[in-house]
Point group: C2
Chain length 255, copies 2
């Protein structure tokens, strides 16, 4: 396992990895030496909220609503990224929440957006949504088109920006791996939906977390099943790769 001192950005770029992929996990803030004498609580709270579907939900206990509560997080990238943030930024007054709900599509987020996002007043709001919008359609349980996905997502973020002008939006790239439930039937529509999500992110001034790009590289190192058995829900390895990518891309509260 490499150490920071031997980690070589050029080497990573040679692998053709997207910027931000395969990032090392956070060490101490570069300003840690300024902080070490202070053990006071942070003056203000900063709230990080993960939103999405089952990939974000990851089996969390939905009866637990508090921040920074491991049992409220499930076993996914939100827990892994949240824990790393809390360790790396102990003086930032971070409160991290997971409100992903299995099975959700864009319209489902829209329906529960007021209690589960807007009223929480997050400083950083991360959204991963899209795989059910196509999966349920392929299964005959939904009829939303690509255009409806994009329009609904645009409207959701516009509504969010209006309620929370200062929020830092993060849009995560929907992704699948070609194994398990993911057959040729998913394409090219899935790629169209990825392109939609990217346009939505750009239009909203959101950070873009390139999960699909990262998994496309990862499958050169281990088979798709290693990263997500059914092609949709990541393994431990897949979730850890997502968390690393999220942290490196979002770079929460940098500077």
């Amino acid at each position: 396992m490499s150490r920071p001192s031997s980690w070589n950005r050029r080497e990573v770029m040679q692998l053709g990895l997207a910027a931000g992929a395969w990032a090392a996990w956070p060490g101490p803030s570069s300003r840690a030496s300024e902080r070490v004498t202070s053990s006071s609580q942070a003056a203000e709270e900063r709230l990080v909220l993960f939103q999405g579907d089952s990939i974000t939900d990851a089996g969390r206990d939905r009866q637990r609503r508090g921040g920074n509560d491991p049992r409220a997080f499930g076993f996914g990238y939100a827990f892994l990224a949240g824990a790393a943030m809390l360790a790396a930024l102990p003086d930032k007054g971070l409160r991290v929440y997971n409100r992903g709900v299995s099975g959700n599509k864009v319209p489902d987020l829209d329906r529960r957006w007021e209690p589960d996002a807007l009223n929480m007043k997050p400083d950083i709001l991360s959204i991963l949504i899209g795989v059910n919008d196509i999966w349920h359609k392929l299964g005959g349980n939904y009829d939303g088109t690509v255009e409806q996905y994009e329009q609904g997502f645009v409207a959701l973020l516009a509504r969010t920006r209006e309620a929370l002008p200062e929020v830092q939006l993060v849009v995560c790239e929907p992704f699948v791996l070609r194994c398990g439930a993911v057959t040729d039937k998913w394409f090219p529509e899935f790629d169209q939906r990825r392109a939609s999500a990217r346009r939505v992110a750009e239009q909203a001034g959101a950070k873009w977390v390139p999960f699909q790009s990262v998994f496309d590289v990862a499958i050169k190192q281990a088979p798709p099943e290693y990263w997500a058995g059914d092609g949709v829900h990541p393994s431990m390895a897949g979730h850890a790769l997502m968390a690393q990518t999220w942290l490196e891309t979002v770079d929460p509260f940098a500077g």
Copy 2:
């Protein structure tokens, strides 16, 4: 949040951190460029086993016995370190298991050691044990002395080494934070037990993961309660700090 390129080892040392503490999380293996063309499964399996008490157990589902199963891990450092390993070393055939059991002391490990450790034939066996050995004694439910802790721990590792001559042993430093349940009554006996564990590690040729040293630095950045509310069971932040420390110290399958 710092990036590897800005991570500064000297800066960390200035904080008085023990070697290995505050490590950046794993990036790609330095040999990743050799691996990227290979998507074959690893030729052999390598088994990593976490053993200990409730800190290791961390609420895991004990009905689930499989490796690399997130729901079998609980919400602790074993999950965080395991996930990071699986992402960083996708071609090593890693199988990671958690067999920590809440409330365990050294004699409890000894009783379940054959099915829960020896028969599993781990390549890396990590053990964190000791806090209940004193806690239960302070509570009047146990009468084991410091000497009995050390002798029992020595015997456990000798038995392990005899059954598994090639195993890489990892002994984690028992730790407490001075808050919650941890009162002055715990000292100096707790420090004596830490010293015992360290002697046990050295005698067995085990790697030593300096959790107490790391938490002693961490409490300069945020109060003890931030890292472990009751002084014994780590928060998300505390578990993430442990996982980082474990990974940097153990450096699994380096080279």
